[in-house]
């Protein structure tokens, strides 16, 4: 296993922007845009689990879907093993489609109710030809077993499974193409706590066995902390802090990250002192104000914060970056 801290970048994201147009008016023209991802830059290193955390609506799911081009980026660059994904057409994307897969949040809407598990899996395998035709059936059985389901699950329909089992099917589908990189978009947040652990453990096992790289998206910092190597903290389309999970509590400096750590209910009660600072509204993503988006809620806010967006700059510790005027040293 390579060391995540030193491994080469598998995926490089530079200044990624994703806007959604908003239509209105008499002629139904684009009147404004939702700035879901607003110029983010980061690397995913080979073999690591990179977490992305933030409140709902901060653009983390959009980010996850954009980096594997389920959504078209508005601007910026995505490089996978150095190849510029953002420039590829449908056909040229094909090899990367196989290498990059996604696990969804909702185990109910993420499975086509009309297809049996077998058909669902076979469809993609055949399409990419990742397994010889004759071996497909065995492969599927193996895959099902691998994600912890019984063999007879293959010929059942999604509605015959429980939520946790469905999520296992979702994982199997993502793995079916033997990918290298997986975006896990809040894979456990729709599940019961007891099942969450099972699924996370399954993911960890699979990661080890299959040498996967995972971009793990969650709103739950506690899950991230346990599961990931590094974490990106997102706020309203911006990365405000990037740091290693090992040092999360110790090194986090951005007021938002600190607030998240405080808001975490399972956290140490002593750390709750800063919870009350999160007052004020989240600014509208339709029309973001200049300056730091967090300024309206920030306890450390200065004039400068309202005028200018702080850049994401490296801190002393390797791999730790933060975007905040107030914590600049």
């Amino acid at each position: 296993m390579s060391d995540p801290a030193t491994a080469p970048a598998l995926l490089e994201v530079r200044d990624l922007v994703k806007h959604f147009p908003v239509r209105g008016g008499i002629l139904n023209r684009v009147v404004s845009r939702v700035h879901a991802v607003n110029g983010v830059t980061f690397d995913v290193r080979k073999g690591e689990i990179l977490g992305v955390v933030g409140e709902s609506g901060c653009g983390k799911s959009t980010l996850g879907k954009t980096v594997i081009r389920l959504l078209e980026p508005t601007d910026g660059q995505i490089r996978y093993e150095g190849k510029p994904l953002h420039e590829l057409g449908h056909r040229d994307m094909m090899p990367f489609r196989r290498k990059m897969q996604i696990i969804f949040q909702d185990p109910y809407s993420s499975l086509n109710p009309r297809l049996t598990v077998r058909k669902m899996l076979r469809e993609g395998i055949r399409f990419h030809g990742s397994v010889p035709e004759a071996e497909i059936d065995d492969y599927i059985v193996e895959l099902i077993r691998q994600v912890g389901l019984r063999k007879d699950a293959a010929d059942r329909f999604p509605h015959e499974f429980s939520g946790g089992q469905r999520q296992r099917i979702g994982i199997a589908r993502a793995l079916a193409l033997k990918p290298e990189f997986i975006v896990a978009d809040e894979p456990v947040s729709a599940l019961d706590v007891s099942i969450q652990a099972q699924i996370l453990n399954l993911l960890l096992d699979l990661k080890e066995n299959l040498d996967l790289t995972i971009l793990f998206i969650s709103h739950d910092l506690k899950v991230i902390e346990h599961f990931c190597d590094r974490v990106l903290v997102m706020y309203l389309g911006h990365i405000v802090e990037e740091l290693s999970c090992d040092a999360l509590h110790e090194e986090a400096v951005h007021p938002y990250t600190k607030a998240l750590l405080g808001a975490n209910p399972i956290n140490d009660p002593d750390d709750r002192r800063e919870l009350e600072v999160l007052e004020g509204d989240v600014p509208s993503p339709f029309d973001p104000p200049p300056g730091c988006p967090f300024a309206g809620r920030c306890p450390l806010v200065e004039d400068r914060c309202r005028q200018e967006m702080p850049p994401l700059v490296d801190r002393k510790t390797a791999g730790h970056r933060v975007a905040c005027w107030a914590v600049e040293e």
Partner: protein
């Protein structure tokens, strides 16, 4: 697919609805009859167009007043007379058969003529001299007239008798055609029209609606414009314009105008419904999962989107089936319906003249047969909606 259907919650709910199952069986029965007519020709078009006897025969061999009995007898006398009049009697007689009921082979031309003369004389006696009264003095003469008819055209026996009975069981219309055969043949026409239009409208409408919602952009705008346009022309106005278009053209005699009329109007419903459903489906994560695998948009549309609207297609198809059957009646009235051969619409339209004289067998038969089928479809579509689309209003 089928297995899944029967295992699904909807199917189980549907099967639990006894009424719906009965309706389903009724429809299956109709389809069976239609299939029999279509493939085996147990009833041919000729049989529905040919005379089987006198006009306005009541069904179930209802009793008739003597005036009507004489009228019916006159019909047979005329037929026999014409046969005897034609020079070559033997060949002529071969053609004088009303299916199972044939001119007797035991009498020669002169004997036939004599009997006809006697019969007509008797008839005139009753009609002209004695008037139409039902008195005892008239009845023996009427009986004698009937006896002559039977002598000329003996009642068929064996299998023939059964077929003869089948033809006459619901009486004859104004032109002396078998109401029962016409009504049963019409099942084929109704099913044909219903299946073709429901299939076409649902498949076309669904595909267009799904494609519009799925691809969005100008395709969606164009489709919305198209169906808004079609649905903004009031139904009967559109039909009227079609009547104008198709009147006196070469496809006038076929069912094509009917298909076009229904096709143009009916696809809008499924298109609208399926478009709405697709808008919902396309946001679901399994569609994104398919995109992530790398499938093309079209493949995803066909394999993942459209099959998930199937329940709505079924419901729409059964509603359109009703629409087609009932619409056929209106179109036949407007002169755009079935032209060659019978249909329930034609039968109802034609029975206008019969109702005035208190003869209800044709309108009754057509209405009842149609009623049962439409009712069954109504129940079926209700049950389908309850089972698969519980939110419907």
């Amino acid at each position: 697919m089928v297995a899944r259907f029967f295992r699904s919650r909807g199917a189980r709910k549907f099967m639990a609805n006894r009424l719906a199952v009965a309706a389903f069986l009724v429809i299956a029965g109709y389809l069976l009859v239609a299939g029999l007519v279509w493939f085996t020709g147990i009833i041919t078009l000729e049989e529905t167009l040919g005379r089987i006897g006198a006009s306005y025969q009541p069904g179930l061999w209802g009793a008739q007043r003597s005036g009507k009995r004489i009228e019916d007898a006159t019909f047979w006398f005329e037929v026999a007379q014409n046969a005897a009049d034609r020079g070559d009697f033997e060949t002529a007689r071969g053609g004088v058969a009303f299916y199972e009921r044939r001119l007797t082979g035991e009498l020669d031309a002169d004997e036939i003529k004599a009997r006809v003369a006697r019969g007509i004389a008797l008839a005139k006696e009753v009609l002209v001299v004695e008037g139409f009264d039902e008195s005892a003095s008239v009845l023996p003469k009427v009986d004698e007239i009937d006896a002559i008819v039977v002598e000329l055209f003996p009642h068929p026996e064996g299998w023939d008798a059964f077929m003869y009975g089948a033809r006459h069981v619901l009486g004859t219309d104004r032109q002396g055609r078998s109401i029962s055969f016409r009504a049963i043949y019409s099942i084929k026409v109704a099913v044909q029209v219903g299946v073709v239009t429901a299939l076409f409208a649902v498949l076309f409408g669904s595909f267009v609606g799904a494609a519009a919602a799925f691809f969005g952009g100008w395709i969606d705008h164009a489709v919305i414009w198209l169906y808004s346009t079609f649905s903004s022309i009031p139904y009967l106005v559109l039909l009227s314009v079609l009547v104008y278009m198709f009147n006196d053209t070469s496809v006038d005699k076929t069912l094509i105008p009917l298909y076009v009329a229904f096709g143009l109007t009916f696809w809008v419903g499924p298109c609208r419904v399926i478009r709405g459903e697709t808008l919902k489906i396309k946001e679901l994560e399994y569609i994104q999962a398919a995109t992530a695998i790398g499938f093309s948009r079209t493949y995803i549309l066909i394999k993942h989107v459209i099959p998930n609207t199937a329940h709505l297609m079924f419901i729409n198809a059964s509603l359109l089936f009703i629409g087609a059957i009932k619409g056929e009646v209106i179109l036949s009235f407007l002169g755009l319906g079935v032209k060659s051969g019978p249909s329930w619409g034609i039968m109802i339209s034609q029975s206008k003249a019969e109702v005035v004289s208190g003869f209800f067998w044709q309108i009754g038969t057509a209405t009842v047969l149609m009623f049962v089928l439409v009712l069954a479809f109504n129940i079926l579509s209700d049950a389908l909606q309850d089972a698969f689309d519980p939110k419907h209003v």
